[in-house]
């Protein structure tokens, strides 16, 4: 009697509570696109961090002044017309008519100026541009002018920058947030709107079609052209486990996996209901060292660590199938015109004896080097255990610390010594959009504390970069690119681990319209 009562009560109460606690919305599921992003989206400020998942979020809710099409040509996006002076010092732009933010406010020059200024404080190329910029003013609500101290032919490259930090336009009040703090409001003028009341980091991120967005008339191509939206709602479903992702798409519970975890390749490849696509050119993985604190502030020790790299073993562990990766020693992708094999000493094969010798010469004190390990990031989490073993064989003591990707992204901002909450090394991936131009490549900096994480001080590198920017011919650029590579390995700023193919999985016949681009574009997708 009592038991009967208790169990009935439990059932009744639980249903009532769940009914109130659950989400309340009904939707037509055919117009909801479910995407599994590469990582959890905890940081919503694509200017504060260079993490790709935040950049991809940026492309959902913001728009850019210029885009880059599939042929690599820069095309106007938010800009309607522009002029430049023959000496590349004066640039005038006029915005398209009818551009507005998702809250109804029109996009004005003030918004543009504030956004570009904030971007320029964080972005590696933006910092370069800011030093050359003399005046940046609004002519009227729709047009603005940039005046440079010296000729600056790469203005459009800056305004169309696809990655590293992509140059997104935000409302002025948001862009006035100091560059070292995260923004707290996420209104943009892009093809989608972030639905804040359903924002559940770790579970689901919801975007709605931005009804106020006016796409361009052209076909979408790269990050340029008309960013038309054919679905009402996009859900980013956060699934950290590679197996869970694969199961979900095989069962039709999600429609698209942005970045296929390599260990699922064999299973997904043979599934007739799925299609594997290569929307972007090859990317690369690099090992980054912290030059701000010991021991890698000593180039010899940095070189020793780089000599421990066994590209085949590392790439094999992470990418599993030989179809998906290629060893490559150049700091540029091996299929890029700037690639070369001149590295000085780096062969991609381990040189343990030489490394041990260098450590002895440099007087390595045996203190463990802190290797950051993003345990939950399926596309990066096989490298650190292998690297730890390699480093140990090269004579290092290694302290491999597990954390999630968001923590790594935050921890790498620390300039403290490694045993006080800092770090010494981590591996991350780069897309073609970052590496196509040495001026764009965030880790390629030698300006110390103002540079990218690792804060290397290398005046020669900075000089080479200035030379690259001033170079007039392709041959000159290739030559300087080669020297940049040599200098990178000499100082030991970072080392290439390998090139890989970035594969997106979609449900065959259900999802169409994936736009080939240097970054992930989620507009133009149709769900059938």
């Amino acid at each position: 009697m009592v038991k009967w009562l208790i169990s009935r009560c439990v059932v009744a109460v639980s249903f009532a509570v769940i009914g109130f606690a659950g989400n309340c919305h009904a939707e037509d599921s055919s117009k909801v696109l479910r995407i599994v992003p590469q990582a959890d989206l905890k940081i919503l400020d694509p200017i504060w961090t260079t993490a790709f998942v935040s950049r991809n979020h940026g492309y959902m809710v913001y728009d850019q002044l210029f885009g880059i099409d599939a042929k690599g040509q820069i095309q106007p996006q938010m800009v309607d017309t522009y002029t430049k002076s023959p000496d590349f010092k004066e640039w005038t732009f006029t915005l398209r008519k009818g551009l507005s933010f998702s809250d109804g406010q029109p996009v004005t020059s003030e918004d543009v100026i504030a956004s570009v200024n904030r971007w320029a404080k964080r972005d590696v190329f933006g910092q370069v541009m800011a030093t050359q910029l003399d005046k940046f003013e609004a002519i009227d609500a729709n047009s603005f002018k940039m005046t440079f101290k010296t000729p600056f032919p790469m203005t459009l490259e800056a305004l169309s920058k696809p990655s590293g930090n992509a140059n997104f336009i935000m409302p002025k009040r948001v862009a006035m947030t100091p560059a070292d703090q995260q923004i707290t409001e996420y209104i943009g003028s892009g093809p989608y709107v972030l639905k804040m009341d359903e924002y559940k980091p770790g579970a689901k991120i919801v975007y709605l079609k931005n009804e106020k967005y006016v796409p361009r008339a052209e076909e979408p191509s790269g990050t340029a052209g008309g960013k038309r939206v054919f679905v009402d709602r996009v859900e980013w479903v956060i699934l950290k486990d590679a197996q869970t992702q694969a199961n979900a798409i095989a069962n039709g519970e999600v429609d698209l996996i942005e970045w296929m975890p390599a260990d699922q390749y064999a299973a997904l490849k043979d599934n007739p209901k799925l299609e594997l696509l290569k929307p972007t050119p090859a990317g690369s993985f690099d090992l980054h060292l912290n030059h701000f604190v010991p021991p890698f502030d000593n180039p010899k020790i940095a070189q020793a660590a780089i000599m421990a790299v066994n590209q085949e073993a590392l790439m094999r562990a992470q990418m599993v199938n030989k179809d998906l990766y290629r060893p490559c020693v150049s700091i540029y992708p091996c299929d890029s015109p700037l690639a070369s094999t001149d590295t000085g000493y780096f062969t991609g094969k381990p040189q343990f004896e030489a490394a041990k010798k260098l450590l002895k010469e440099a007087g390595y004190d045996g203190k463990p080097v802190v290797l950051l390990f993003p345990a939950d990031f399926a596309v990066l989490n096989k490298f650190p255990p292998v690297l730890a073993q390699l480093l140990k064989q090269a004579g290092f003591n290694v302290d491999m610390q597990s954390m999630d990707w968001s923590s790594l992204v935050t921890r790498r901002t620390s300039k403290e010594p490694a045993d006080k909450g800092g770090w010494n090394m981590f591996i991350t991936g780069w897309g073609p959009g970052d590496m196509m131009n040495p001026m764009f490549f965030p880790p390629l900096t030698g300006n110390g504390e103002k540079g990218w994480f690792g804060w290397t001080t290398d005046p020669k590198l900075e000089q080479l970069k200035a030379d690259f920017m001033a170079a007039a011919t392709d041959d000159q650029r290739k030559k300087i690119a080669k020297e940049l590579q040599l200098q990178t390995y000499q100082t030991g700023i970072f080392a290439k681990v390998g090139d890989f193919d970035y594969i997106t999985v979609v449900r065959k016949g259900v999802v169409t319209g994936l736009v080939p681009s240097t970054v992930n574009a989620f507009w133009n997708l149709k769900k059938n």
């Binding site: 509570v17 070292d180 954390m403």
Partner: protein
């Protein structure tokens, strides 16, 4: 009435000490939480500024009082990464966890108690012995192993149910049930073992009492004897262990949600821990502990209903 009031009041010192323990645990952090929060271009002024804004430079007892005061008002602080209040995050994720727990309890109670009664009734028989063996097994095989075995068999081999995710009940009842069924079964195994065992033990003991013999000699049906007399007299230990088992359930929820990718509080805990998101960890631990204390309070109060002999 006074007894009930006294019992309720006695939970207050416990809650206070729980809060103290949780607060103390996180102040044992090596390293400076303020340094973890500062961005790229950090310098000692920025760090000092954040320390002051977090109240970290005040004496520890003052910090505790301040924190406890806010907690009583429902303000458990803000997560380090996601610029959202801890309370908001917990409220968002509580639905799936509650669903899972409720379904688990339902499955457990409707199987464990009848099984326990049967085993006690046929004391020493094959059902009794196999139940005891099963219950030891249930304690020993880890929840996540059971989970993966079930996924493999049911979802992959026989393709009966989905393997991950969660559908809220008001979107689709069948979706909700199909997503939660496997996780609930997985979680219920441990709980089942515990409750079945205790049910059997206490009902078996109740059946040896004199009044049972009297009832039998009066010709009352066996079923009525079992349920109306034996069970109600055995209820107190059973309900006690249900309450204590909530602790097990909470731990199991964390693992089960991870295995089945259910976006509930368990997953939030794991995320918070991997991210060293201290305010969030603190908030969730406090929340679960308070829930445990309150549920056990309800259990204790229910004794008054179940056993007229008990008075406070």
């Amino acid at each position: 009435m006074l007894f009930i009031l006294r019992r309720v009041l006695s939970t207050v010192p416990v809650l206070l000490i729980v809060a103290l323990i949780v607060f103390a645990m996180l102040r044992l952090t090596p390293g400076d939480p303020a340094a973890a929060l500062v961005g790229n271009n950090s310098n000692s002024e920025d760090i000092a500024r954040i320390r002051t804004s977090l109240g970290l430079d005040e004496p520890v007892p003052v910090q505790f009082v301040r924190w406890a005061g806010k907690a009583l008002q429902g303000d458990l602080g803000e997560s380090y990464y996601m610029k959202q209040s801890v309370t908001h995050l917990i409220a968002q994720r509580i639905g799936p966890t509650l669903s899972l727990s409720a379904l688990t309890m339902l499955i457990t109670l409707s199987i464990a108690i009848p099984l326990g009664i049967l085993a006690a009734w046929r004391h020493g028989g094959w059902l009794d012995r196999s139940l005891m063996s099963f219950s030891v097994l249930g304690f020993s095989v880890p929840t996540f192993v059971i989970g993966y075995l079930l996924i493999w068999a049911v979802a992959l081999h026989w393709k009966l149910l989905p393997v991950q995710g969660y559908t809220p009940i008001n979107e689709s009842f069948s979706g909700w049930l199909s997503h939660l069924f496997l996780p609930a079964v997985t979680l219920s195994i441990v709980y089942l073992a515990l409750i079945a065992r205790v049910t059997r033990a206490s009902v078996a003991e109740a059946l040896t009492e004199d009044y049972i013999r009297t009832a039998r000699s009066k010709g009352i049906s066996e079923l009525r004897i079992l349920v109306r007399h034996a069970l109600t007299n055995a209820a107190v230990p059973i309900v006690t262990v249900i309450g204590i088992g909530i602790g097990l359930l909470i731990g199991g929820v964390v693992v089960t949600e991870t295995v089945y990718a259910i976006p509930g509080l368990g997953q939030l805990t794991v995320d918070a821990v991997l991210g060293r998101d201290f305010p969030l960890i603190q908030g969730i631990t406090l929340f679960f502990s308070f829930a445990y204390v309150l549920i056990n309070l309800l259990v204790d109060l229910s004794y008054v209903l179940l056993d007229p002999r008990i008075r406070y």
